[in-house]
Amino acid sequence: MQNLHYEFYSQPKITSGACALESIPTELASNDAHKPLVITGREHTRRGLDKTLIRAFADSGCPLGGIFDEIRDYAGISLARQAAVLFAERGCDAIVAVGGGPVADVARAANLLVSHDTQDLFQFFNGSPPGKRLKPFIHIPACCTNGSESGKTITVDNRRLTSNFLYPDAIILDKRMTAACTRRCAAQSALTTMDNAVTAFLDGEHSPMKDAFAHAGVGFAAASLKKAIKRPKNRKHSLAMANAGVMAGIAAANAAPGVVRGLAEELEKITGIARGVFIRIFTPAALAWMTQKTGPPGDDLLLAAGGMAVYAKTPEQQRPQKGVEMFLALLDETRGQIPETLSSLHIPAYRLEKACVHAGSRKDFPFSPQDCLEIIKQTQKGGGR
């Protein structure tokens, strides 16, 4: 019997499917907000996603305070300040972010500024955490995800901040917005999602609620990952993968940080190579290492990745192992889009070590630099495959 000592918190209301975008004005009104500022990326407006959003607001009586579309692939404080000024000038009372990664980070940073009426964002990073509820914040996943949009962590100017106040109030998943730009982008998002889910499953604290979120996330990924990568513009599958991303993101926000995630983020910072690539490379060895260290993962992974029929057919003692195998097989679906070996990236050894040190010295990161080095070593040997 597993013990049930846990805490679970998930602030966002998830809305997905037909007419989801059209429900935003009602959603805002139920939060007593009537004029949102839209924050999005250049790439997103180029693809016309802003037009789709504007159309969805037709006949709603709810004006948009402006569409701030300056975000590219870096989340910086100056962008957040500009957005905050626009917010104040237009008298907005809520923020809608269209797009993942830096867009969601800047939008939440801007929300911190306008809600606390300050210009000093880094006070929150330097030991005085946000102390009050922020303005209503709605996140609309579009294109790629970095796995933390639906959670409670933001990264601005390469500094990380975690707070329960940073959860979005609502997440709107609509197939008109979720299509990925390229196969590679779809594959990277999928890998981040899978890493979030497995982090949640492997977490030592047994929380059935977190497992339920991770379960639904992996379930969608198992059904749609292959097709979503093959046809990144397919609406049905990209919607399913966006759902998976949100669910896994919430599950991971309630689990201790995973070793792969920390390492991949630091390496991304140092080398500029997308974290999805590192997740792909390190996960097999990391799973093997974790199994050795803390025992095999629970059998929930098999239930999520294989479904009821496969789970029921597999003998009980083989379920954890089979779950890991099915999970790795899913990662393999990204073949051709993402490099598979560390050597092919040509990263000098000192940079790898530096990343390990950075990751190990992170606050609330339960692994040491040696642990990270060990995983890199195992990966180079081809461990876990």
């Binding site: 004005p25 009602t26 948009l64 100056s78 500009q82 905050a84 000024v85 237009r90």
Partner: protein, 201 residues
């Protein structure tokens, strides 16, 4: 806030990010308007022709008035019982009426889905598309009326999409169904229609 406004304003040209007032979708709005008008008139007609509709309205309180429409700006249809208990389609103006029950569909796009029968009323209810302002049992009674009226108005192929259970002919014989359908259509498009339109303008 002021001070950062100044420093940031140098780099930020606010007019590049104009405020965007909500547009309008005239064609869809028009379609829903016409459908509401037809359904409204048909409810009035059905309350005289169909026994179960008659009974449901009989159980509702005296001078009961309700509307079905699209939030936040319409279109609407208003239906009420008069002193004698006759059910009347009162048009599309909400103003100057005492409304007992409001059924709002959350947005035009959802209303369009309901009135093009892509979603049944029950499904739309389950998808949280309705906002009920007033007493829930009465709202359920009204939804039941709309279901029955749809069975009468629509050919079987379409009505089967709009309601949960299409009655078997043992419950509703084809002769009676078609007779009722003709009566409802005739009553709906009688001169009363022009009268009610004129009164609403």
């Amino acid at each position: 806030m002021k001070s950062i406004s100044k420093s940031v304003n140098k780099t930020l040209n606010i007019s590049r990010y104009p405020e965007i007032p909500p547009g309008t979708k005239l064609i869809k709005k028009g379609y829903v308007f016409v459908m509401l008008l037809i359904v409204g008139r048909a409810i009035e007609a059905a309350s005289k022709v169909d026994q179960s509709v008659k009974k449901i309205f009989g159980d509702l309180p005296e001078r009961f008035t309700f509307y079905l429409g699209v939030a936040p700006g319409g279109p609407y249809m208003v239906i009420g019982k008069d002193k004698q208990g006759n059910v009347k389609y009162l048009g599309w103006n909400l103003y100057g009426r005492k409304i007992d029950l409001g059924l709002d569909i959350k947005n035009l796009e959802s209303a369009f889905k309901v009135f093009t029968f892509q979603e049944s009323t029950a499904q739309a209810f389950a998808y949280d598309r309705f906002i009920v302002e007033g007493n829930l049992p009465q709202a359920l009674a009204v939804v039941r009326v709309i279901d029955i009226v749809e069975i009468h108005l629509l050919p079987k192929v379409i009505a089967r999409l709009a309601v949960k259970r299409y009655p078997k002919w043992s419950e509703l014989s084809p002769v009676k169904k078609h007779l009722n359908r003709v009566r409802i259509y005739l009553k709906s498009f009688s001169p009363g229609l022009i009268k009610v339109i004129y009164r609403n303008l």
